[in-house]
């Protein structure tokens, strides 16, 4: 063995040893943290935090360090004894991280055990959930109704704005400006301000086009109609942008091919561009659906007795938030399947286009 390889050998050994040292100390720190915490569990400042915070990054560092040591060694001259060392140090580091996390979790749960019962009492009290269920559910049905109607209007209105924004020619310039201004304003305003202005402001103007207090449409009273109008204004701006990004993502050569076959501009849009654009924007469109569905709860500020109004009303009277939690669960039951369904649609569409067949 020449002196040179001897130095390399030592350096390699030292790297692997250092790796093992770092990882072992991280595990030791984590364990020590746990012990300290156990001994002084009564105190607020129990010393665990410092030890734990030190051990965790150290373990992560050890993991990266061990991994690097191993790669280097294997790259240079194949598996060797110190590769085993380095690998072992990595294993210890993984152990260190796991121990740290488990310790932290266990401590958190243990120290919060009594607290947890209070938490359950406030947010998940079964009697309160039961008492408020009927009221909250009735309100939530109104949320759903508003959502469905608003969504249909938003889809149509957003498309109209998107197309107006992409109209060709000088004659259509004012329409384009109008569309841009509309999108800028209503995407920039907080939804709650738009809702407030529309629902409380429009009736004050006493314009004949604003529905009077006695009108009703599809079972919605005048305030609910205004609420839906406000949501359509807000989400129409978002959805118009989504549509537009879809339209612009279709390569211009597709339009050229369609026009080259003699299709008119409108026909190219309808048969060639839009079908591709809409397919591409289904996921972002779905995000806006979910946003709209959630934002129906904002209408409670307008005095519409939807789910959130009902739930917070109950919470205020009973000093218990379980009714609101219940409403939250109602929302999740709708929104989570919606996202999963979108994923499914997108996947199926992609498979159909690339895997062929009818």
């Amino acid at each position: 063995m020449t002196p040179k390889t001897a130095t390399v050998r030592t350096r390699r050994d030292s790297r692997a040893l250092a790796a093992i040292l770092v990882s072992s100390s991280s595990v030791l720190l984590a364990v020590a943290g746990g012990v300290v915490a156990l001994l002084r569990s009564g105190d607020t400042d129990n010393g665990f935090l410092i030890l734990f915070t030190a051990s965790f990054p150290l373990a992560v560092f050890a993991l990266a360090f061990g991994r690097r040591a191993e790669t280097r060694i294997v790259e240079r001259d194949g598996p060797a004894r110190d590769e085993d060392l380095a690998r072992r140090s990595r294993r210890i580091a993984v152990g260190g991280i796991t121990v740290s996390v488990l310790l932290a979790l266990a401590l958190a749960i243990w120290s919060a055990w009594t607290g947890l019962q209070d938490v359950q009492e406030v947010f998940f009290s079964l009697p309160d959930l039961g008492d408020s269920a009927g009221l909250v559910f009735d309100g939530f049905v109104l949320n759903i109704k508003i959502f469905v109607v608003a969504e249909i209007l938003v889809l149509a209105w957003g498309l109209t704005v998107a197309i107006a924004r992409d109209l060709p020619g000088r004659a259509a310039a004012p329409l384009r400006w109008l569309a841009v201004a509309y999108v800028d304003v209503f995407r920039g305003l907080p939804a709650i301000i738009t809702i407030y202005l529309v629902v409380f402001g429009l009736p004050l103007t006493q314009l004949s086009i604003v529905p009077g207090p006695d009108t009703s449409f599809l079972g919605f009273d005048s305030v609910e109609m205004l609420g839906i109008f406000a949501l359509v204004l807000v989400y129409g701006a978002y959805v118009a942008e989504v549509y537009r990004s879809g339209i612009e993502s279709v390569h211009w050569s597709q339009r050229a091919a369609a026009r080259g076959l003699g299709l008119s501009g409108g026909q190219s849009m309808r048969f060639v561009v839009m079908p591709q654009a809409v397919r591409r924007v289904i996921p972002p469109l779905m995000n806006d659906f979910i946003g709209l569905q959630k934002d129906t709860a904002l209408l409670n500020i307008a005095g519409i007795f939807e789910g959130f109004a009902a739930a917070s009303n109950y919470a205020n009277n009973n000093f218990n938030l379980s009714s609101v939690t219940g409403l939250g669960i109602c929302f999740l039951v709708i929104t989570i399947p919606m996202t999963r369904f979108t994923d499914f649609l997108v996947k199926r569409d992609r498979q159909r286009m690339t895997a062929g067949g009818g």
């Binding site: 091919a257 080259g260 076959l261 299709l263 009818g358």
Partner: protein, 247 residues
């Protein structure tokens, strides 16, 4: 009267002059090949002929009608002009059959049945009758390009424009497409072909035009252009492409 007549046409993109006073006559049943380096204006000229690009000067007359940027007149004119692009540009969300029948149905207002009656023999002709219900992504490049050609033919055009349609194809797929173009030429279709395939130009063209910086600086029958070019630039260009093995 000439099928296509291009007189002193100028086309600019901003400060960049792409067509600089082009003159071209294409008679019925002629196959005119446009050759020249990339960026010499071949594709732009084709796009101007069917009005996909607006010109800044000169007059183009196609099938006795002047090409002007008027949507209704252009739509009417484009029914009679087929165009095929380098990148196929099939509609990816439609089956092969729908790709071919879309324009006959929506522009010529044929019924679905009639349009398919028209499409199926075309698919037979290119040997792809069993691909009718496939989506374009499932086809090879050569197959897609042949579908793109019959998609244009389904409108029964009187003039076909080909924009370097073999340039994006793998070498082994080029011949099936060239063969199809040759058949079309033999059936008497009037064609304007922008191409880098000198072999095709030599064998099939009635007239070859060499474009350089937006001008046709030499034109004539292929035997003359390829064996005894008059212009120095033409011979240099031909020598370069010959060296590159494209002949």
């Amino acid at each position: 009267m000439a099928h296509v007549s291009v007189a002193d046409v100028v086309k600019r993109f901003g400060a960049n002059t792409v067509l600089d006073g082009i003159n071209l006559e294409v008679e019925e049943h002629q196959v005119v090949c446009l050759i020249g380096a990339s960026g010499s204006g071949k594709s732009t000229l084709l796009r101007c002929i069917n009005g996909l690009e607006a010109t800044q000067g000169g007059i183009i007359t196609v099938l006795g009608r002047t090409v002007i940027q008027d949507d209704i007149k252009l739509n009417r004119l484009r029914r009679d002009i087929g165009i095929v692009f380098q990148a196929y540009n099939l509609f990816p969300h439609m089956t092969v059959l729908d790709n071919i029948t879309l324009a006959p149905r929506k522009v010529l207002h044929l019924s679905k049945h009639d349009a398919e009656e028209r499409a199926r023999p075309l698919l037979e002709r290119i040997g792809l009758p069993d691909k009718a219900d496939e989506y374009p992504d499932r086809l090879s490049g050569g197959q897609q390009q042949r579908v793109a050609i019959v998609r244009a033919l389904a409108m029964q055009p009187q003039l076909m424009l080909f924009d370097e349609i073999t340039s994006a194809l793998d070498p082994e797929l080029v011949n099936e497409v060239l063969h199809m173009m040759q058949e079309l030429a033999e059936q008497g279709m009037t064609m304007v072909v922008a191409t880098h395939e000198m072999g095709f130009a030599r064998d099939v063209a009635t007239k070859v035009c060499y474009l350089h910086r937006g001008q046709i600086i030499e034109e004539g029958p292929p035997e003359k252009i390829f064996t005894a070019p008059q212009n120095v630039r033409t011979s240099e260009f031909l020598k370069r492409t010959l060296d590159a093995g494209q002949m």
